[in-house]
């Protein structure tokens, strides 16, 4: 006996710069089991397998850990692999993350995003002499990193931020700034002053206008706006 099926409608952004003059939206109907839910990524992979294998999307872990499959789903950035179909209105409109150059279909060029990340020196810096074993941290200090270290660099936040759209070469963006604060807040890092000093130009931090799109979309429930506020008040304390 075959399982009961239902149809789900999709509209997916297509663009192959080698073939297409302009991007266009393509309609797909997909048959899915009627009384089971599934994640959007699985549906996209089913479409790719069964209907059009030229459809391009990045993915890896399929469980919200690697940050590969950030896309714009019905106007909102999110991870396809942890977005259930049942939560979405049809037709489900899927586009690449906004504001980043499209390589093909749903795959965007993340160079600018990672360049901003690189700028904040996303690694521990400590100029004190090395301890015999490891740098210890009290549980209270470790707790300060909660809500910061969980970022998976999916770019859902930065690519939903108007300030990042207009100045992606100079505004660090919410993802990078969340990590900037993550290292500023780390008790084992001794370069806090330099880190803050590197961010005082009019663009890196201060282009944030507190729109909070970043907070709204983060699939890990993190709060870059709050981290940006912390950076700002620390700078204020350091420099006045």
């Amino acid at each position: 006996m075959s399982e009961a099926m239902k149809t789900v409608k999709f509209k997916i952004y297509r663009y192959d710069p080698e073939k297409d003059e302009k991007p266009y939206m393509q309609d797909f109907d997909l048959q899915v089991p009627a009384n089971k839910d599934m994640m959007l990524l699985s549906a996209i992979i089913d479409i790719k397998d069964g209907q059009d294998d030229s459809l391009a999307i990045r993915r890896s872990c399929r469980e919200g850990v690697c940050g590969s499959d950030g896309v714009n789903i019905n106007g909102r950035n999110g991870l396809a692999c942890i977005t259930p179909l049942s939560a979405l209105k049809q037709p489900i409109v899927i586009r690449p993350l906004p504001g980043l150059p499209v390589i093909k279909d749903l795959v965007v060029d993340m160079t600018q995003f990672f360049r901003q990340y690189e700028k904040i020196k996303p690694y521990l810096m400590n100029d004190e002499s090395l301890p015999a074993k490891e740098r210890l941290q009290s549980p209270a200090d470790r707790k300060k990193l909660d809500g910061l270290y969980e970022c998976i660099l999916c770019a859902c936040c930065s690519s939903s931020c108007p300030s990042f759209w207009w100045n992606p070469d100079k505004f660090i963006g919410p993802a990078g700034l969340l990590q900037a604060y993550r290292f500023v807040a780390d008790s084992r890092d001794t370069f806090t002053q330099q880190r803050l000093g590197d961010l005082t130009d009019p663009f890196s931090v201060f282009r944030c206008r507190g729109i909070m799109n970043c907070v709204d979309v983060c699939p890990k429930g993190l709060n870059p706006t709050k981290a940006i506020g912390e950076l700002r008040s620390l700078m204020l304390r350091e420099q006045t």
Binding site: P202, F206, R207, T240
Partner: protein, 115 residues
């Protein structure tokens, strides 16, 4: 490429702080003017004249004018550097805004000191 040379202080933190401080000054000045307006049944030239003859009112007004200049410049500069990507046009717009703001300032000072 957008640069920082035309920003008010060249330092994001200072710009940000100045914009907040100037907002407070402007807010207080507005409250002051509203008080004058509502506490006086009729506003005539004599009242206006005696009000602005007071040196403290004059100074407060100058402070408010400077705040207006700084506040507007920082705000408009941000908007222009967000949206105008062609350097020539951006510089032109920035020049027009700066010129207008300075004209207003000088104009207001002239009025103030002729009262």
């Amino acid at each position: 490429m957008v640069n920082n040379v035309t920003s008010y202080s060249g330092n994001g933190l200072r710009d940000w702080l100045l914009q907040r401080v100037s907002a407070y000054v402007l807010g207080f000045y507005l409250v002051f003017l509203l008080c004058v307006y509502f506490l006086n049944p009729s506003i005539d030239y004599a009242l206006w004249h005696s009000l602005f003859a007071n040196i403290w009112v004059k100074l407060f007004t100058v402070l408010a004018l400077l705040s207006l200049l700084v506040h507007t410049w920082i705000g408009i500069w941000t908007v222009i550097t967000d949206y105008v990507k062609v350097t020539g046009i951006r510089l032109l717009k920035e020049a027009i805004v700066m010129l207008a703001l300075l004209t207003y300032l000088v104009w207001a000072l002239v009025i103030l000191w002729s009262m």
